[in-house]
């Protein structure tokens, strides 16, 4: 009996440990491979990279030869800043209202606001293209902001909603019984408590917009090109090594931003919750 139990313990440790290791390799490996490839000295994306150089980063910085990439990056940041800003304002207000109201209607409204998260983005992207075109609009960054807004709001709702539900109701009662108005309580008690949640939500919304594909796929045009769409084009056609340099830059920026947000808002915990 004792021997059989130890055999099953060994097999459990081996299988679970082995699969977990494989999971880690699969999660991190590709990121490292891209970083290594971006420093290659050759014209192909062979791995291991041939030689070491910054030539693809230099080409990426070249204002003339990488103009399209620069414009796409500029458009992407512009849209992401506006969409994330609007989503943070509207999403925070809505999360506050839903937390106040509770009840069945609040739950229905919550499910409605969260639905873009699981809805196939591609169907929504096509719908938005038809809607705007049939209303007579031409492709513009403003339309992209409207489309992105819908798909990034759920990130704000989730993080702000979570920090609201962790708020101690006794604090609100205490503030009210000390004679504070509802607005004052909101400003001095609720807002400081949920500020990290708002910041984390805004950050996630911004990153989601930068990464957005299905909506941009339909709403962007040659003039309003977006970075992920441009990268897709580069991968489909020439497989330019600059894709690796753009990827390396994006990985680096995401890594730094994530460390900063982790420090100030405990980001990963909020994403988990």
């Amino acid at each position: 009996m004792a021997r059989r139990r130890s055999a099953s313990e060994v097999s459990y440790a081996l299988v679970v440990g082995g699969l977990a290791t494989l999971a880690l390799v699969i999660l991190i490996g590709p990121v490292l491979v891209v970083l290594a490839t971006s420093f290659t000295d050759s014209r192909s994306i062979r791995f291991p990279p041939q030689g070491f150089s910054f030539r693809w980063y230099e080409l990426l910085l070249d204002e003339v030869r990488s103009r399209q990439i620069h414009r796409a990056a500029g458009n992407t940041l512009h849209v992401a800043a506006l969409a994330a800003g609007l989503a943070t304002l509207g999403g925070t207000a809505a999360a506050l209202a839903l937390a106040e109201a509770r009840g069945r209607w609040a739950r229905v409204a919550d499910a409605f606001f969260m639905s873009p998260l699981v809805l196939p983005g591609l169907a929504f992207g096509l719908a938005a293209l038809m809607y705007f075109t049939l209303l007579g609009f031409r492709p513009s960054l403003e339309l992209l902001v409207c489309g992105h807004l819908i798909v990034v709001v759920p990130f704000v709702l989730r993080t702000v909603g979570a920090s609201l539900s962790q708020r101690d109701p006794a604090l609100l009662d205490a503030s009210a019984s000390l004679g504070a108005s509802r607005l004052y309580t909101f400003r001095r008690v609720t807002l400081p408590l949920i500020a990290p949640g708002i910041a984390a939500g805004g950050f996630l919304a911004f990153m989601a917009s930068v990464d957005q594909v299905p909506v941009s796929l339909f709403l962007s045009s040659a003039r309003t090109d977006m970075l992920p769409i441009r990268m897709w084009g580069m991968m489909e056609s020439t497989l330019d090594v600059r894709v690796a340099a753009v990827s390396g830059t994006l990985i680096f920026v995401a890594f730094v931003l994530m460390l900063v947000m982790e420090r100030f808002t405990g980001l990963t915990k909020r994403m988990r919750g």
Partner: protein
């Protein structure tokens, strides 16, 4: 009722934005699907008929849903063990593992897709290894196969499974594991009889996100899967942007929407039943 309405006031701007930019476009999508010609002049069910009475289209639907399910299975197979290791790790390693799990989520989907081209390509990492070790005489064909696509989606979508799963794991009472072991259950028995039923809601929440994301991952599907593997998103894209056949593209998009939502509803229901059973047993 009136009171509740006033309280919902701050949600109004977002509600209006959703009506204008979300509900209205989706209604428009449905309307467009009922036109018979590209110019949107004649109404008719022609495009619905064209989709429904062609077995090729049904195969694309099946392939798309199967791709999603394969991605779910692969992410669960690797993600669940990682979550189990995470649960037993020290606080420091828990932070590190969580960071590693979240990191890919913040590196663009396009970047992750590109990484897999470098890894799975003819001269990629896998083929260099296989050829170097003499395991095969010729480079393996991994790009433009469904196997390659599922492997890539496993990494691309795994963070979506891990986040809800880890949050359930964190609330898990470790005494239950000791209790199960001291009652003589093997680790496997504990896993299937104690751990899995308890984390089922988190697992379902994650599986749902993975499924939704994998079935609509157009760029990964088209770049890694290539032109020979056709899924609903590439069919939508092709019909809308290349053939400029909006009504038919709308039909395909609605089929994508409905079929994915149906599977998601089933997964959510399964999670709720599994969760409900545990709570019932506890009460």
């Amino acid at each position: 009722m009136k009171q509740a309405f006033i309280r919902m006031g701050p949600a109004l701007p977002l509600g209006l934005a959703y009506l204008t930019f979300f509900v209205a476009p989706l209604l428009m999508l449905v309307a467009v699907s009922f036109f018979a010609d590209d110019k949107l002049t004649v109404m008719g069910l022609d495009n619905w008929r064209k989709f429904l009475f062609d077995s090729f289209h049904w195969k694309v639907v099946a392939d798309t849903l199967l791709l999603g399910l394969k991605a779910v299975c692969a992410t669960v197979l690797l993600g669940l063990p990682l979550a189990l290791v995470w649960r037993g790790a020290s606080p420091f390693w828990q932070r590190v593992l969580l960071f590693v799990a979240v990191m890919p989520l913040l590196t663009s989907v396009v970047v992750r897709t590109f990484a897999w081209i470098v890894i799975l390509g003819r001269e990629g990492v896998v083929n260099q290894l296989v050829l170097g070790l003499g395991l095969a005489a010729e480079p393996l064909r991994l790009l433009q196969t469904e196997l390659g696509l599922v492997i890539s989606l496993t990494q691309i979508e795994m963070p979506l499974l891990l986040l809800p799963l880890l949050s359930v794991m964190a609330r898990f009472d470790p005494n239950l594991l000791d209790a199960s072991a001291s009652l003589g259950a093997s680790p496997w028995r504990t896993l299937f009889k104690v751990v899995l039923p308890l984390v089922a809601p988190g697992l379902a929440a994650g599986a749902l996100l993975v499924f939704a994301s994998a079935t609509t991952a157009f760029i990964s599907q088209s770049v890694i899967g290539g032109g020979r593997l056709v899924y609903l998103p590439s069919l939508v894209w092709q019909q809308a942007m290349i053939n400029a056949n909006w009504p038919f593209a709308a039909v395909v998009a609605i089929v994508l929407l409905v079929s994915v939502s149906a599977v998601i509803a089933v997964i959510a229901l399964a999670g709720r039943i599994a969760g409900g059973r545990v709570h019932g047993a506890a009460a």
